[in-house]
């Protein structure tokens, strides 16, 4: 089973990297771009332990290690299996 986890800064936290990317896009003429938020992607392969285990395991891993809950939030989805 493969899971994809997206970690990004909370909306309340300033994202200077996202801002820099947005400014670059504006410089290139993409004026329709309203905002950019940058984040991280993790793809995790798991033993087939069943949906229930995964539902518990992924948020645990994300909270404990992958994201810093003070500044970041995460979403996740099963992409294989």
């Amino acid at each position: 089973m493969k899971v994809r986890i997206l970690v990004s800064l909370k909306p309340s936290v300033l994202d200077p990297q996202g801002q820099a990317v947005k400014n670059a896009l504006h410089t290139l003429g993409y004026q329709t771009v309203k905002d950019v938020r940058q984040g991280k992607v993790f793809e995790i392969e798991l033993d087939n332990t069943g949906r229930q285990t995964v539902d518990k395991l992924i948020p645990e891993i994300a909270d404990k290690v992958l994201a810093n809950p003070i500044i970041e939030k995460f979403t996740w989805e099963i992409i294989e299996g």
Binding site: Q17, A20, L66, I71
Partner: protein
């Protein structure tokens, strides 16, 4: 007093810190390897600057899982003195020993320069040798030093006087330009509620001798020594100063990867 300087893979201020404590401040100092779980009965643990684990994931995020960190947590909860400098501060935040988090500097640049910081609270174990509002010149060298805490936590930090050092200009004014990395409330140094764990982004070990441009960093180390010598059970300074060579040889790196 006995200091322990923790060495993680990627620490690069460990020797500077060791030198400042042993040769400049004339205190017994040992290295503590990240894989060890013996704190060698030190009186103060120092987490030095650097790039532990290459800053992978987030600065300080991997180092907090080192075996030595479990011991440092126990040591801190028993009231032991812990000082985190730069990457050490980031590790303390990730480990939950200090509140809040670090974001990338507001200008997205690695900042390596002298800054001024102001002592906001000189009643702590890490600042008592300084005067209130005293301005210190100490260098910074970091990419993620933009301190962040949610509003309610910030208010709490202010109320409890946990903000020990703030970025300022040479006259002690809290100007926007002086707050080089964009830290909320100009936070450069933060102490825990119990008053025994301090995180500091500037590097006092790089400002501990006039020959390197500033010895203002000594205020922080001297504070720790004063605090420890005055507390019950703390050993008094020996009457005669021990004669040491100006630069003692540093020990070889401990442990293996």
């Amino acid at each position: 007093m006995k200091f322990g300087v923790v060495v993680f893979p990627g620490s690069n201020c460990d020797y500077d810190t060791f030198h400042a404590l042993q040769n400049v401040m004339e205190q017994e100092t040992v290295f503590l390897w990240h894989k060890d779980s013996d704190l060698q009965q030190v009186d103060c643990v120092v987490l030095p600057g650097g790039f532990s684990y290459g800053d992978y994931l987030r600065s300080g995020a991997i180092a907090r899982f080192s075996p030595i960190m479990a011991e440092i947590k126990k040591f801190a909860s028993a009231g032991g003195l812990v000082l985190g400098i730069c990457n050490g501060f980031q590790i303390l935040l990730e480990a939950g020993l200090l509140p809040g988090a670090m974001l990338t500097n507001k200008n997205l640049k690695f900042l390596c320069q002298h800054v001024y910081i102001k002592i906001e609270n000189n009643k702590t174990a890490f600042s008592r040798a300084g005067r209130k509002s005293q301005v210190l010149s100490i260098p910074i060298a970091h990419f993620d030093g933009n301190y962040y805490a949610p509003p309610e936590l910030l208010a709490q930090l202010e109320e409890r006087k946990q903000i020990v050092f703030r970025y300022c200009d040479r006259n002690g004014r809290l100007t926007e330009e002086a707050n080089v990395n964009g830290s909320l409330h100009h936070i450069a140094g933060l102490i825990n509620e119990q008053g025994n764990v301090l995180g500091l982004m500037p590097h006092p070990e790089r400002a501990s001798e006039k020959i390197v441009g500033s010895d203002d960093g000594q205020v922080i180390f001297q504070s720790i020594i004063d605090y420890w010598e005055k507390k019950p059970g703390g050993r008094k300074k020996k009457a005669g100063k021990t004669v040491r060579p100006v630069v003692s040889p540093l020990p070889p790196l401990v442990g293996s990867l």
